[in-house]
Amino acid sequence: MAAEEAASGAAHHGGGLAIDPMHQFRVETIFPIHFGNIDASFTNASLWMLIAAGLVTLLTIVGMGSRSLVPGRLQSVAELSYEFVSNMLRDNVGDAGKRFFPFVFTLFMFVLFCNMLGMMPYSFTVTSHIIVTFALASFIFIAVTILGFAVHGLHFFHFFVPKGVPVALLPLLVVIEVISYLTRPISLSVRLFANMMAGHTMLKVFAGFVIAMGWFGGFLPLAFMVAFTGLEILVAFLQAYVFAILTCIYLNDALHMH
C-alpha cells in the first residue's frame, strides 16, 4: 500500500518528493450511487464517517452493556465522556442547555472520533475537509439563530445593538456586529479544518523527508514526527473540544442574550 501511495504520489507530483502530502485528503469513490442527477457515491469519506459513528455507538452501547455499578474500562470511558460534555454544557449554558445535550454530545464525539481516526495510518480524516466542517458549523449557526428568534422573538435583534454607544455610530456598529455574527460559522469551520489539514500535511511532509534522507539522515525528521504525532493527538482532542464548547457558547448567546 505504501508503494501504491508513493507511486501515485510521484505520478501526481511529477517526481520530486516520493510522497504527495495532499494525496491523503483525496476523496475516492468506493462504489458509485446515483439518485437521478444527485451523486451520493459511497467514498472513503463516507466510510470513515460511518466508522466514526459506529465506534461512538460501540463505545456508548456495547461499553455500557453491563451497566454495572462499578464500571469497567469501556464503561468508564463512556461515562467520562458523558459527564465531560454534560459539565461543559452546564458550565457554559446552564440548566436551559439540557435539551441540547444529545446534540452537543453527538457533535463532540463525532468530531473527536473523526479527528482521532485520522491519526491512524492509511485512514482518511473526515474533518480535514472544509465542506464537512462548514456543513456542521452552518447547521449549528442556522439552528442557533433560529433558536434565538424562537426564544426571544424580534427582541433577538437587540443582540446586534451594542449598549452605551452614541446614536450616530449605531448603524455602523450594528452592521459590524452583524458581520461579526456571520463570521461565526466560518471561523468555527475553518479552525477545525485548518488544524486537521495542517497537522496531517506536516506529518506527510516530514514522512517524505524521512524517506528522502534515507537510512542515516532520516532519524531526525522521524524523531520530529514521533513528537509531532503526540502533539497532533492533543490537537485532535482540543479541536473537538473547542468545536463543542463554541457550540455551547453560541447556544448560551441564543438562550440568554447577555
Binding site: 485528503f25 451523486d39 451520493a40 452501547i61 465542506i131 489539514m197
Partner: protein, 162 residues
C-alpha cells in the same frame, strides 16, 4: 487541493447527514438515556449508602449512650445497695450494742443493789454485835446487866461518828 474538488461535496454532505443523523438518533434514543440512568443509579446508590451509614452511626451512638446510661444506673444502684446494707448493719450493731449495754446496766444495778443490801445487812449486824459486845463488856466491867436501851443509844451515837 482535494478539499476544493467540488464534485466530491455533494456525496460528502449526503453521507455526513446520514451518519450524523443516525448517530444522533442512536445517542438520543438509546445510548445517552442508558448512561444517564446508570450514573443516576450510582449517585442514588451512593447517597442511600451514605444515609445508611449515617443511620448506622446514629444507632451505634444511641447504643453507646444507652450502655453508658445503664452503666451509670447500675453504678448508682450498687452504690445505693451498699449504702443501704451499711445503714442496716450499723443499725443492727447499734441495736445490739444498746441491748448489751442495757443488760450490763441492769446487771450493774442488780449488783449494786445486792452490794448495798449486803452492806446494810452487815451494818445492821455490826450494830447488833456492837450492842451485844457493848452489853457484854458493861456486864463484865460493872458486874450487872447493862441497860439495853442506853447501850443501843450509845452504839448508835458511836456508829454515827464512824
Amino acid at each position: 487541493m482535494p478539499q476544493l474538488a467540488f464534485e466530491t461535496f455533494i456525496p460528502q454532505l449526503i453521507w455526513l447527514a446520514i451518519s450524523f443523523i443516525a448517530l444522533y438518533l442512536v445517542m438520543s434514543r438509546i445510548a445517552l438515556p442508558r448512561i444517564g440512568s446508570v450514573i443516576e443509579g450510582r449517585a442514588a446508590r451512593i447517597a442511600s449508602d451514605l444515609d445508611e451509614a449515617a443511620a448506622s452511626k446514629r444507632r451505634t451512638d444511641e447504643a453507646v449512650a444507652a450502655y453508658e446510661k445503664a452503666l451509670a444506673e447500675a453504678r448508682a444502684k450498687a452504690h445505693g445497695i451498699a449504702q443501704q446494707t451499711r445503714d442496716l448493719l450499723t443499725a443492727e450493731t447499734d441495736r445490739q450494742r444498746h441491748e448489751i449495754e442495757a443488760k450490763l446496766a441492769e446487771k450493774i444495778a442488780a449488783a449494786e443493789a445486792s452490794i448495798r443490801k449486803t452492806k446494810e445487812a452487815a451494818l445492821a449486824n455490826v450494830r447488833n454485835v456492837a450492842i451485844d459486845v457493848a452489853g457484854a463488856i458493861v456486864t463484865q466491867l460493872l458486874g450487872e446487866d447493862a441497860d439495853k436501851a442506853a447501850t443501843e443509844r450509845a452504839v448508835d451515837t458511836a456508829l454515827k461518828q464512824v
